[in-house]
């Protein structure tokens, strides 16, 4: 108990003053939390405040952001060749850096990272693990993380999971993300190890194999939305229901999760599905969705801006913009980014929200990648989320949604495989999309063309010798 108090104090000082964490102390703090639950059955009151910075007051939020940004920028100026050069070229003064002056600095793009990856590695840091994006929207990007970064992210993640009652020592977590996403996989296994839970990393394997492993054993699952959709379809085909599973939570990361798939997954697996935002480039900054569907951003570990897609100016309430994220030091230290433009499009909420996380700034859920927005008319943009939600809501339940859409003379043309529109007349299809705000004309294609219509992460199949499964099956 005495030691635990000292560890909490050390963590709080690191969070407040921006000093590097003692990873050993953080790790032991997780063990303390687990031991507390083992002894008392639950944590004490106000346990969550241990790792969360109070952000009720806007002035406190701004002060935290300004101090963290200044600290992060100062370190980048000293140690990051890319940012030292960029700051000099922009006349950016790190000593006076804050959320306002930051706006004068150009955002960091994926192209910057792709073209000069070595210049992003900070002097004095020791790269340990390379992790790659899946490259579903282009070439895969490689990010190096230090051992310190992984240990801090895993420990804070584990602590958060324990404090929020999301992971127990007797849990078995089944992980279905691409094995190329080494950081995600590593963090999942490290988190489980710290909590004492079991971890089964399966990747994107044959769905039937995944279901066999899932049934009756796993209690939590981390999964991409498209693979979750395939699991639901397969489970329903086999007549499996909640009684066949022991799941108590499903964490969906990345990709667009439609209400139809979410609801079906909850009914089939008997566990709530949480929809989270995360991105390799900005680890460990994340976002979580609330019951109202807002995306609430992690203000403790990073600064989040929403910038207009064309001008780069801050988006006003109601406007679409790209999420631009800056992970703070001491959470990132090896290959950090400042103002990283994710190109993930969100909409600024029109006003204050009244959800269970009302004190935390929020945006809409991610609506899709900026490059996939469809401008039907000069003032009318259709987002990938609208399309995914509309397609996945078709009576045939074509999950995950396979479609192609493009503007067509002031309307939208949606290409769908025949199986997705089975039993629906042309008029019914038009009505279906019109009911969801989409003025669309549907073109029906052969089913075998479906996988090429829209790439999803569940396409990244990891085959085995025993049961090879065609991609997109």
């Amino acid at each position: 108990m005495f030691e635990t108090g000292v560890r909490q104090l050390r963590m709080a000082l690191s969070m407040t003053w921006g000093r590097p964490f003692s990873t050993d102390s953080l790790t032991r703090l997780v063990a303390d939390a687990v031991a507390t639950i083992a002894e008392f059955g639950e944590l004490g009151l106000e346990a969550r405040e241990v790792i969360e910075t109070p952000f009720a007051d806007a002035a406190d939020r701004a002060d935290h952001a300004d101090r963290s940004l200044r600290r992060t920028a100062q370190r980048l100026a000293e140690r990051s060749p890319f940012y030292a050069e960029r700051f000099a070229a922009s006349g950016f003064q790190v000593r006076t850096a804050d959320a306002t002056t930051l706006l004068d600095l150009p955002v960091t793009t994926k192209q910057d990272l792709m073209s000069r990856p070595r210049d992003f590695v900070c002097h004095g840091s020791r790269p340990h693990l390379a992790t790659r994006t899946t490259g579903t929207t282009g070439r895969a990007l490689e990010i190096w993380l230090s051992r310190y970064e992984l240990e801090v992210a895993a420990a804070l993640g584990a602590l958060s999971a324990v404090l929020h009652d999301e992971l127990h020592a007797d849990d078995l977590m089944q992980v279905h993300v691409s094995s190329r996403a080494t950081a995600a996989v590593q963090l999942a296994s490290m988190t489980c190890r710290l909590v004492g839970a079991r971890c089964r990393v399966l990747g994107i394997i044959a769905v039937e194999d995944a279901l066999d492993a899932l049934a009756g054993s796993a209690t939590t699952m981390s999964v991409n939305a498209s693979y979750l959709a395939e699991l639901v379809v397969s489970a329903r085909r086999r007549g499996l229901g909640p009684a066949d599973f022991r799941l108590r939570r499903i964490d969906c990361v990345s990709e667009i999760l439609s209400p139809a798939v979410r609801e079906a997954a909850e009914q089939t697996f008997g566990a709530p599905v949480s929809d989270n935002f995360g991105m390799t480039e900005v680890i460990p900054v994340t976002g979580t969705s609330c019951s109202a569907g807002h995306l609430h951003h992690d203000l403790t570990m990073g600064h989040v801006e929403v910038l207009l897609l064309r001008s780069g100016a801050p988006a006003a309430p109601g406007e679409l913009g790209s999420l631009v994220v800056t992970p703070y030091f001491p959470y990132r230290e090896c290959m950090p980014v400042l103002r990283y433009d994710s190109r993930d499009v969100v909409r600024q909420l029109p006003g204050p929200v009244e959800c269970e996380q009302a004190g935390i700034p929020a945006t809409s859920a991610v609506l899709g990648k900026a490059g996939q927005l469809i401008e039907v008319a000069p003032d009318q943009v259709v987002t990938p989320r609208e399309l995914v939600e509309a397609v996945e809501d078709l009576p045939s339940r074509p999950w995950p949604a396979r479609f192609h859409a493009e503007p067509d003379g002031g309307r939208l043309r949606i290409d769908l495989p025949a199986g997705a529109v089975a039993g629906l007349s042309s008029a019914a299809l038009t009505d279906h999309f019109a009911g969801r705000g989409l003025d669309a004309r549907v073109r029906v294609l052969d089913d075998h063309e479906a996988p090429s219509l829209r790439r999803v992460r569940s396409d990244l199949r990891e085959l085995s010798f025993a049961a090879p499964e065609p991609v997109g099956a």
Partner: protein, 325 residues
């Protein structure tokens, strides 16, 4: 009443004080554990390191008491008792009444210790008031530790180490004797005591604390039957034997003719062996969660309603997998 040279009266007095103090302390500690829940830290449970820390305080504090001038010493003791009383009473009577009661008890102790020690009756009244203070402190502290996750294993090892400590600091470096002399006649004497004639008999707060800890840790770990056995050991080895030993030998009589018995030397080994027997007989100890779920807990006293959670204004939880492919 015996003459000053007789050993009968001081022995009976010592026996009465020790048995009464022990029984009242362990009885109240048990009732408190069964009925009242103390606040505990959000994260953390009592472990071996805490035992080391507490033992460090036990070693360091007496030395501090010896070197501190009297006034700061009394201030430290006063703050210690105030804290213990506030912690213990608040769940029972609420914060407002607690401060009134604690203020009254502390003020009365100071006033009585400064003005009433000129007569035997004055001494007796002072002791009664001081005894209430000390017993409350022992009951609260014992509950704070056990409700904080302290296990019978910790208490048993603690008692064993204290047995050595007590013997050493009584016979080799007679700190205990010096401290007992220093505290007597001043407010906040950390002992339960009473006076008859020219004799004062006391039993230390530390002794009562370990007896209370032992019994309620046994109750938490193995239930009422184990607690009854622990209570018998506490009374016999912690109160009766130390009170009777001076009758058999004069080794405990110091140069001032004060009788100082290292009670832990008798209690510690007995408690440790009893714990080992319980462990072998009944297996692993219950956790606090197991105890609270058992029939050994009485219906808790009504607690003040927690303040409703305001609109959450803290950072959201991190997704379990903090990155995406």
């Amino acid at each position: 009443m015996g003459t000053p040279t007789s050993t009968t009266l001081p022995t009976l007095l010592a026996l009465s004080v020790a048995i009464t103090g022990t029984l009242v302390t362990i009885g109240l500690a048990v009732v408190y554990l069964r009925r009242v829940r103390l606040d505990r830290p959000a994260i953390g449970t009592f472990n071996g390191v805490d035992i080391v820390v507490v033992f460090g305080f036990i070693v360091a504090l007496p030395l501090l008491y010896l070197v501190l001038p009297l006034t700061p010493l009394l201030v430290v003791l006063g703050l210690t008792f105030t804290s213990a009383l506030v912690l213990g009473l608040r769940p029972l009577i609420g914060p407002g009444a607690t401060w009134i009661v604690v203020g009254t008890v502390i003020a009365a102790n100071v006033w009585m210790g400064r003005t009433m020690l000129g007569t035997v009756v004055g001494w007796q009244l002072f002791w009664i008031e001081n005894d209430v203070l000390v017993v409350c402190a022992a009951v609260t502290t014992a509950n704070l530790y056990v409700q904080g996750g302290m296990r019978l294993r910790h208490v048993a090892w603690f008692g064993l180490v204290l047995a050595v400590y007590d013997a050493v600091f009584t016979f080799v470096w007679p700190v205990t004797n010096t401290l007992a002399q220093r505290f007597i006649g001043w407010p906040f004497d950390p002992s339960v005591g009473f006076r008859v004639g020219i004799y004062n008999a006391t039993i230390g707060l530390g002794d009562l604390l370990i007896y209370g800890l032992f019994v309620i840790a046994a109750l938490k770990a193995y239930g009422p039957r184990a607690a009854r056995g622990a209570a018998v050991i506490a009374v016999l080895c912690g109160a009766v034997v130390p009170a009777l030993l001076p009758v058999l030998t004069d080794v405990f009589i110091d140069a001032r003719t004060d009788v100082i018995v290292p009670a832990q030397a008798a209690f510690g080994p007995a408690a440790f062996f009893y714990y080992r027997w319980l462990l072998r007989t009944y297996g692993a100890e219950r956790t606090m969660a197991g105890f609270l779920a058992s029939a050994d807990v009485d219906r808790p006293l009504p607690m003040p309603e927690p303040t409703p959670e305001p609109t959450p204004a803290t950072a959201p939880a991190q997704p379990l997998v903090g990155s995406v492919p």
